[in-house]
Symmetry: C2
Subunit: 342 residues, 2 copies
């Protein structure tokens, strides 16, 4: 069976479904014939953008709520067959300035959600998206799944806490859970309002707006970028795989380039320039250095291979934002969805 038949008429819930990865996943799920419910809190500093699903709204259930709000989400949980649990508040610097908010939005909301889901829809398959930030500054490269988890900030700590909730709920037979720890993901539908999440998309924004691209420090750190469509493919595979259940996997492209090389590629493709600039202290303090994840466990378990090389993904992303950039660079279409529910 291929992915296409696996998802036809399946009841699928995507938390964080108005965000970057979530909305790309939802669009694919709808095209595969799944019955899709989206829950998204639409926090203004996060990735939700109403425009991400504007042309799909008639084909999904959209619930604007924090996943911790039982009164708003309970009716949508029974009988869900697969849950892609992507809802998260992601801010490394912000989690140090306001760690309690990070705790509330990530751990508290997720624990409420999993507890409720296990009660209302037991044995559901849940795919959680972890992060390479769980590892902190690598002790060796490439980083495999056995690398110690020593994140540099509170957000990274909480990514692991929530992953651990999934593992414990799985081991107690209340849900069936898999975690994919993602590396630097880029592509269409990423928020472009601030540079606190994913600097490659920020470079693209700067290039398309004709601004000079600023690389903090020497830009010599290695990063393995992964195009969002490859992440969607991996999530879809994990969502129907019994072999994945109970495990955590790295997900990465396996090919690294430096931050400076990425800046140069974006500058060339968008016709702008780039230069090095001093690291702002708050960014320096959460900079993990070279990153390269070893994704061989996931590749071997599911036969997944990334299909998009860096350049092809970059071109696709630039084409998308050239056409739709006005919904991401200046306007804030997430505001629309805060007043809407259905």
């Amino acid at each position: 069976m291929g992915i296409s038949s696996d998802y036809r008429d399946k009841r699928v819930l995507v938390t964080g479904g108005l965000g970057f990865i979530g909305s790309n996943l939802v669009r694919r799920l709808v095209r595969l014939g799944a019955s899709v419910t989206v829950i998204d809190a639409c926090y203004p500093d996060q990735g939700a953008n109403f425009y991400n699903l504007k042309d799909y709204l008639e084909k999904i259930n959209l619930v604007v709520a924090d996943i911790g709000e039982a009164d708003k989400i309970s009716e949508y949980l029974p009988d869900q067959e697969i849950v892609f649990n992507l809802a998260a508040s992601t801010s490394h610097v912000g989690s140090l300035l306001n760690p309690l908010r990070d705790l509330e939005r990530n751990c508290l909301s997720q624990l409420k959600f999993l507890n409720l889901l296990a009660d209302l829809s037991p044995r559901t398959m849940v795919v959680y998206t972890g992060s390479r930030s769980q590892y902190g500054k690598p002790l060796y490269l490439p980083v495999d799944e056995n690398h110690p988890l020593r994140p540099v900030d509170i957000n990274g700590v909480h990514k692991t806490t929530v992953e651990e909730y999934h593992r414990v709920f799985h081991e107690r037979n209340r849900l069936r859970c898999t975690s994919l720890r993602l590396t630097n993901v880029f592509g269409p539908r990423h928020q472009m309002q601030h540079d606190g999440q994913g600097f490659l998309n920020w470079f693209i924004r700067e290039g398309l707006l004709g601004n000079e691209i600023l690389v903090y420090g020497e830009g010599s750190q290695q990063r393995d970028f992964l195009y969002v469509e490859d992440v969607v493919e991996a999530l879809l595979l994990a969502g129907t795989s019994e072999a994945c259940v109970g495990k955590a996997f790295n997900l990465a492209s396996g090919t690294s380039i430096t931050v400076a090389e990425a800046a140069r590629a974006v500058a060339e493709a968008t016709g702008t320039t780039w230069r090095k600039a001093p690291f702002p202290p708050e960014y320096a303090s959460v900079e993990p250095g070279d990153i390269e994840l070893d994704a061989s466990l996931f590749r071997e378990t599911l036969g997944w291979e990334p299909r998009w090389d860096f350049h092809a993904g970059l071109m696709e992303t630039i084409v998308f934002y050239r056409q739709h950039g006005n919904h991401y660079f200046r306007s804030q279409e997430w505001k629309t969805c805060r007043t809407r529910n259905r």
Copy 2:
């Protein structure tokens, strides 16, 4: 310098200081000449017992508050030199029944506390007490500090989350933190109201009340019991050691006996009997099997050695409860302290 001069006139804060380990530590600190403040929430299902410090109340500051209650504790935090951060809600079964309460009492309160402490008393030395439950079912024995952290319940997950808060606060130069991961600790001043924390003390209670001691299952699981006075000694050493800062250490006796052997020893010493009984399902589900921690890293770093063997600690504990048992077995003197503040 020995421990005795290290603590003379030092300003020391003990969170959870009315509890089992905390009160034994406080008594020792007072005798060493420290200026001691105790913060304890006196949650009725936890270890606080007013009687634990009844004869020391004129010599300490006692604040009855949750460590997350800034309005109640802020005035006591400035200028603390050493903080023994023992406050915790410990219930493995309870954390599965009510995971949100476990999150609130452990992660939320601790994160508030550390954030406040770092603001009001930066660079303070903080010694946190972790737990062998952070490791879960051992993959190998003895368990060293590099063993994966895969606890079997939510309380164990949160023990690691809070330990990680300490590490991140330390690495960001906001506090100086050490974690000691404790094995099965026993001794005087342990609560005797329920068997949800530390079964050896529960065996002693049953023996002293003339009840038959029930061992769940075969009782063949190995445990390395550690007498509370050895833990106090280790905490005191860690509290003044720069070599410990930023690290997590196992703390254990290094000599294991089985649960059945422990039951037999208690039965002989108290003149009662013991027998095997079926595992209640909720206990079976959090039973980690054989446990033996490798404490060589801490022993080598600080020259600490346990001074109490199992039998000597057991006799001392029985003597204590023979004399004071009425304040632990039946009465609930923690109730007194909920209406009282310093």
